[in-house]
C-alpha cells in the first residue's frame, strides 16, 4: 500500500501575529515554523502506525512550498516518512495547491492520501476535499479513528454533534484530526536517516488561482476587563443580564 501525507508549514502556535506594509504582509521575523499540527500529530503519525503494523507500506510526503519548507519536510522524514516531494511553488490559493498535489498524486496512484483537518494559519479546511475532487475519489473529513481490513478502510469521523463510522474501499482521501494518533518526537536514528532520504523537488503545473489575499486585519482590542468582587458574584450575573444582555 502507498500512502501520501500532505504536509504544510505553519507558524508555531505561540507566534505573534502581526502585519506590515499597510496590513498586506504577515510579519515573519522571529516566527518559528512548524509542521501544521494536524498534519504532523495525526496524519503523519497515523501513516507511521500503519507502516509499523505492515512494513510493506510506503509513506510519501508532499509539500507545496518554497525551499524554506525543507526543514519541516526533513522533520517529517525524521518522524517516519520514506521519501518527500516538494512542489516548488508558493500560493495561498487552496484550488492551486490542491491541483498541484493532485497532479503529483496521479503519477503514483496512492491507495490513501492523508491531510490534516485544516492549516492553523489559513484555516481553509478545504484542500483535502479539493484533492479528492481532482482525483474523483471519496473523501472522509475530520477522521478520529482509522483502521484497515483488506482493501477496506474503517473510519470514524466527527459529524456535527456526534460520530459516524464508515466502511469504504481504497483509494480514498482522509482528513485527520485529534484521536487518529498521538504526537511523537523524532528519535536520533530517525533524524540521522532523514538526512539521506530522498527529497525530490518538482516544478508546479500551470493552473490559475481562483482567489488571492488582499489584506489582513487584527481584531479590535478588547476594552479591558471589568472585574467584579469575589464576594459579590451576583453583581456579575446582573451585569451579564442588564449590561451585556448575554443571559
Amino acid at each position: 500500500m502507498k500512502i501520501l501525507v500532505c504536509i504544510s508549514k505553519t507558524p508555531d502556535t505561540t507566534a505573534k501575529i502581526a502585519f506590515a506594509d499597510n496590513n498586506t504582509k504577515f510579519v515573519t521575523e522571529g516566527v518559528q515554523w512548524i509542521i501544521n499540527p494536524y498534519d504532523e500529530w495525526y496524519a503523519l503519525v497515523k501513516a507511521i502506525e500503519l507502516k509499523e503494523a505492515d512494513p510493506s507500506i510506503t509513506i510519501h510526503l508532499v509539500n507545496v512550498g518554497g525551499a524554506d519548507a525543507e526543514p519541516i519536510i526533513r522533520k517529517a522524514l525524521a518522524l517516519g516518512g520514506d521519501e518527500a516531494i516538494r512542489i516548488n511553488a508558493e500560493s495561498n490559493d487552496s484550488y492551486y495547491v490542491a491541483a498541484q498535489i493532485a497532479a503529483v498524486a496521479k503519477e503514483t496512484n496512492y491507495d490513501l492520501i492523508f491531510t490534516g483537518k485544516e492549516t492553523i494559519d489559513y484555516n481553509g479546511s478545504s484542500i483535502g476535499a479539493m484533492i479528492s475532487e481532482f482525483l474523483d475519489q471519496p473523501f472522509i473529513s475530520h477522521a478520529t479513528a482509522f483502521s484497515t481490513e483488506g482493501s477496506t478502510a474503517i473510519i470514524t469521523r466527527e459529524i456535527d454533534g456526534g460520530e459516524e463510522t464508515d466502511k469504504i474501499n481504497f483509494p480514498l482521501i482522509v482528513s485527520c484530526q485529534k484521536g487518529m494518533a498521538e504526537q511523537r518526537i523524532p528519535n536520533m536514528k530517525g533524524i540521522m536517516s532523514a538526512r539521506t532520504k530522498p527529497l525530490k523537488v518538482v516544478e508546479p503545473i500551470t493552473i490559475e488561482s481562483l482567489t488571492s489575499v488582499v489584506a489582513f486585519e487584527l481584531p479590535p482590542a478588547k476594552a479591558g476587563v471589568k472585574l467584579v468582587d469575589a464576594d459579590n458574584p451576583a453583581e456579575l450575573v446582573r451585569l451579564l443580564h442588564e449590561e451585556a444582555k448575554a443571559i
Binding site: T13, I17, F19, P37, D93, S94, Y95, A98, I120, D121, N123, G124, S125, S126, A129, M130, S132, E133, F134, Q137, P138, F139, S141, H142, I159, D160, G161, G162, E164, T165, D166, K167, I168, N169, K178, G179, L210, T211, V214, A215, F216, E217, L218, P219, K222, A223, V225, K226, L227, D229, A230, P233, A234, L236, V237, L239, L240, H241, A246, I247
Partner: protein, 321 residues
C-alpha cells in the same frame, strides 16, 4: 443569475447554521440585486417553506431517500448540476463538517473560488472581497475571489438573523447522481446536549477545577442557561471530559454570544479558539492569568466558592423572569 444556499438537514433537522446561511445568502442576493434560492437534498423532515422567513425566495428540493445519508462526492455532483441549471453566481454553505466536505469539491467542479470561514458580507467596491477568519481566530484576512462563480462558507454565529414572516415557494429538483462509495456502519449522536458549535452560551472548565468530579459547577450553570459545555485541551487529554468538548487552536473554534471560562489560564492556543466570542467571562483565582486580558468580565477568586454563588444568582434571575 441567482444565489444558491445549501441547506443541510441530513442529520435530522435544519440546523441553526443553515438558517444563518440562508439569511446571509438573502443579504448577498440583495447586494447583487438578485434572488436567494435554497437547495435541500434528501427527504424533508420539516416544512421547507419557512426558509422564506430568512429571505429565501425559492427552495429546490430533491426528495430522495438515497440522499438522506450525506456523501460529499454525491452531494457535490448534484449541487454542480443545480448551479448550472439555476445559473447560480454565488453558492453559500455553513462552515461546518458538511460544508467543509462539500464546498471544496464543488469549487473544483465549477472552477469557483472558495472562501471558507467568512465572517461578513462580501465587499463589492473593488471586485468581490470576503472577510474570513484566519490564524485560528487571531486575525482576519480579506480574500478576493476572481472566478465567475463564487463559493462562500459562513462561520457559525458570525452573522445575526432577522426573521420575517415571508414564505418560500418549494419546488422539486432532480438530477442524476453517482452511487455512493461509503457504507455507514454506525452513527453515534450526542443527544440531549446543546451542540457546542452552534451554542449561544458556552460554559467551559479548565484544569483549575481539579477533577471531573467537580464538573457539576460547569454543567449546572450550563443547564440553567441552556448552554453547551466545553473544556481546555489538557482537560480532554486527561479524560476528565470528552474530546468533542476541547476548544482552542487544536480543538473546536467557537464564537458564542457568551463564553464563560472557569479555572482556565487563557493560554494563547486556548484563546485562539474562543476569542471571537462576543462576551467573555473569566473566573480564575490568579489575578495574573492571561485570560483576564482577553475578558470582558471577570472575578478573581476561587471557583469553588464563587461558582455556587453565581449559580444561585442565576437561579434567582431565572425565577424572576
Amino acid at each position: 443569475m441567482s444565489i444558491l444556499v445549501f441547506i443541510d438537514q441530513s442529520e435530522g433537522q435544519i440546523k441553526k447554521a443553515s438558517y444563518e446561511a440562508a439569511y446571509y445568502g438573502a443579504q448577498v442576493a440583495s447586494l447583487l440585486g438578485t434572488e436567494a434560492h435554497a437547495i435541500v437534498l434528501g427527504e424533508a423532515k420539516e416544512d421547507l417553506s419557512i426558509l422564506g422567513n430568512y429571505g429565501i425566495k425559492k427552495v429546490h428540493h430533491f426528495s430522495k431517500s438515497e440522499l438522506n445519508q450525506f456523501d460529499a462526492q454525491v452531494y457535490s455532483a448534484i449541487l454542480s448540476d443545480a448551479c448550472k441549471s439555476l445559473n447560480t453566481s454565488v453558492v453559500i454553505f455553513s462552515n461546518n463538517t458538511i460544508g467543509k466536505a462539500v464546498a471544496p469539491r464543488l469549487s473544483v467542479k465549477l472552477k469557483a473560488g472558495l472562501v471558507s470561514g467568512a465572517v461578513a458580507l462580501p465587499e463589492l467596491s473593488n471586485g468581490f472581497v470576503v472577510k474570513k477568519s484566519v490564524f485560528s481566530g487571531k486575525a482576519f484576512t480579506y480574500v478576493s475571489i476572481q472566478s465567475n462563480i463564487k463559493i462562500i462558507s459562513l462561520n457559525s454565529n458570525a452573522f445575526s438573523i432577522v426573521k420575517s414572516t415571508e414564505i418560500a415557494e418549494v419546488v422539486n429538483f432532480e438530477s442524476a447522481f453517482p452511487n455512493t462509495h461509503i457504507n455507514v456502519v454506525s452513527t453515534n449522536k450526542v443527544t440531549g446536549e446543546v451542540p457546542l458549535a452552534e451554542a449561544d452560551i458556552v460554559i467551559s472548565g479548565g484544569r483549575g477545577l481539579k477533577g471531573p468530579e467537580n464538573w457539576g459547577l460547569v454543567t449546572e450553570l450550563a443547564t440553567l442557561l441552556g448552554a453547551a459545555t466545553a473544556c481546555s485541551r489538557p482537560v480532554a487529554d486527561i479524560h476528565w471530559r470528552p474530546h468533542h468538548e476541547h476548544v482552542g487552536q487544536t480543538g473546536l473554534a467557537i464564537a458564542p454570544n457568551l463564553y464563560f471560562a472557569i479555572g482556565i489560564s487563557g493560554a494563547i492556543q486556548h484563546l485562539a479558539g474562543v476569542n471571537r466570542s462576543k462576551t467573555i467571562v473569566v473566573i480564575n483565582k490568579d489575578p495574573e492569568a492571561p485570560f483576564f486580558k482577553a475578558a470582558d468580565y471577570g472575578i478573581v477568586g476561587d471557583a469553588f466558592e464563587v461558582m455556587p454563588k453565581i449559580i444561585d444568582a442565576v437561579k434567582k434571575l431565572k425565577s424572576q423572569s
